[in-house]
Amino acid sequence: MLYREAGEFKSTYQADQAILTIRQDRWFMWAMLAFAFLVIPLISSEYWLGTILLPFLILALAALGLNVLTGYAGQLSLGTGGFMATGAFAAYKLATAFPELHIVVVILLAGLLTAGVGILFGIPSLRIKGFYLAVATLASQFFLIWMFNKFGWFTNYSASGVISAPPMSVFGDAFVTGPYATAEAKYLFTLSLVVLFALMTKNLVRSNIGREWMAVRDMDIAAEIIGIKMLSTKLKAFAYSSFLCGISGALWAFVYTGSVEPLAFDVNRSFQILFMIIIGGLGSIMGAFLGAAFIVLLPIFLSNAPHWIGLNIPVDLISHIEFMVFGVLIIFFLIVEPHGLARLWQLLKEKLRLWPFPY
């Protein structure tokens, strides 16, 4: 079966505006989804589901959020960790104050609360641009983490400052948090949410609001002249981005780790998510996933690689070498393809479309 768009004629604008316009792409996507929902839970070990795929999905969601803000709307942010923390703590307060709330409601409300916080910290973006804004977003990062550490109210006065998710189920016995939750249930629950939000994000970026975001990113003054309102467009980007980051934080705390302290969302987390979207590809939904996969898998690979080739290196030395290799790889990737893995994927597809006659 050749990968072609020839012979496919779109007779309606609706068909032409579909997410995937090439038939093979659609098949590939359905196959991927079927594989992710049906096959992976059957063949994967608990280790793979719980410690690799789960954080991958959750961080991909945060990367999706940051990519909306940075990749699509062009507002560089280093405050992702703070917003994830907001989501986690909001979910915790909601779940403990109103135990009868359903977990999906808790998570969505936590996302909405984070969106509110995001709007608040997005207001300076109207005046402050570029790297000035990036540094300014660090203010939200440090302030939020300090706040969750400092005020016992957020942790229900737990002595250690750690919050633990109460057991919650989607329906009946299908627990997704707490000690009764199985890795499969956690995985499927997270996967469903992530797929849903990825679809929503794709819809947004191919609609008017997405075009407004990109217009602001590419040339804000021209965007304003054609009638795009700067404040509301930027704040919508901050709101939606923080919404996703908040949900990601809530999932991280509730579904992945089960208990968490503010330190899990420190500035290193913000950088980690930023790496994902730059390595994956700015302004690309696919890029958020590819970047998340890369950044989650790379450290696992790096810390295991010496054992595979039979080297025995002390642990602290390994972590230093990991740092080095990580740095070199980032630079290497930027030099090879500054537009990220998503661009490589696209180039591959373009090659394939013309194959075997490249000209």
Binding site: T12, M200, N203, S207, G210, M214, A222, I225, I226, K236
Partner: protein, 261 residues
């Protein structure tokens, strides 16, 4: 072309002066634009032509003077107000959204007409999808009009200069403007491209009845297209009138031939 039947005055600028710090860019400029006419602003480089357009659509705020648009007099225009009131424009140095396709660029021109909210757009179904398709149809009409069908999906950053100018015109048209400001739409084009662009400008004026304010250096083009011409030089207004009058005006001839005053 004086015999053309021109409508009422839609835009009137009176005594506009604009300075940046100690530099005076515009000095007491007054002229009006009638409905349905093609009005040109000419003058040597640095005469303040682009600044004049920037004043009309609110990018620059003049220190003195007033602007009357559709009977409403203001001391200065605001960018968003101008866009909402049907003023669209193109730029001397193309101001397209480089990372987006031709289609998306032109679609952004319709942003003020799209009513679905964030949630509907996220769901992309029913009302939102119908709206999107309806606007796509309008945009396709513009694409047909400008004869840019084959670059519909190309990122504009990859297009040649002449094509980018065309896409930019398309984006301005997408807003269905009443008043279209064109800042050197033919600069840097070859003869063939210029002819195309002239045809588009005339057709826009003719078919849609759009009022056009045009900045252009090519005197042949200006004299052919315009109903009336304003001449600026170093921020001062040298002349205002029909192309023939302007052409024979001594001050204008001096400015263009560089006679010392």
């Amino acid at each position: 072309m004086n015999e053309r039947n021109l409508g009422d005055v839609v835009l009137e600028v009176k005594g506009i002066s604009l300075s940046f710090g100690a530099i005076r860019v515009l000095n007491n400029i007054s002229f009006n634009v009638r409905k349905g006419e093609i009005r040109s602003i000419i003058g040597p480089n640095g005469a303040g032509k682009s600044s004049m357009l920037n004043v009309i659509n609110g990018v620059y705020h003049p220190q003195e003077g007033s602007i009357t648009y559709r009977g409403e007099t203001r001391q200065q225009m605001k960018v968003h107000h101008a866009a909402a009131q049907g003023i669209a424009r193109t730029f001397q140095n193309i101001a397209l959204f480089k990372g987006m396709s031709t289609l998306d660029n032109i679609m952004t021109g319709r942003n003020l007409k799209i009513k679905s909210n964030l949630l509907w757009q996220a769901i992309y179904w029913g009302k939102a999808q119908r709206e999107e398709i309806e606007h796509r149809r309008k945009v396709e009409e513009i694409i047909d009009f400008l004869e840019i069908q084959e670059i519909r999906k190309t990122p504009v950053g990859r297009l040649p200069y002449g094509m980018q100018k065309r896409v930019e015109l398309g984006r301005a048209l997408a807003a269905e403007p009443d008043l279209l400001l064109l800042d050197e739409p033919m600069a840097g084009m070859n003869v063939e491209e210029k002819e195309d662009m002239c045809r588009f400008v005339l057709d826009i004026n003719d078919e849609f009845g759009t009022t056009i304010v045009l900045i252009e250096h090519d005197m042949g083009v200006v004299m052919d297209l315009s109903d009336r011409v304003v001449v600026l030089d170093y921020g001062r207004q040298l002349a205002d009138g029909a192309p023939d009058e302007v052409r024979s005006n001594q001050a204008v001839i001096d400015a263009y031939l560089g006679v010392s005053h």
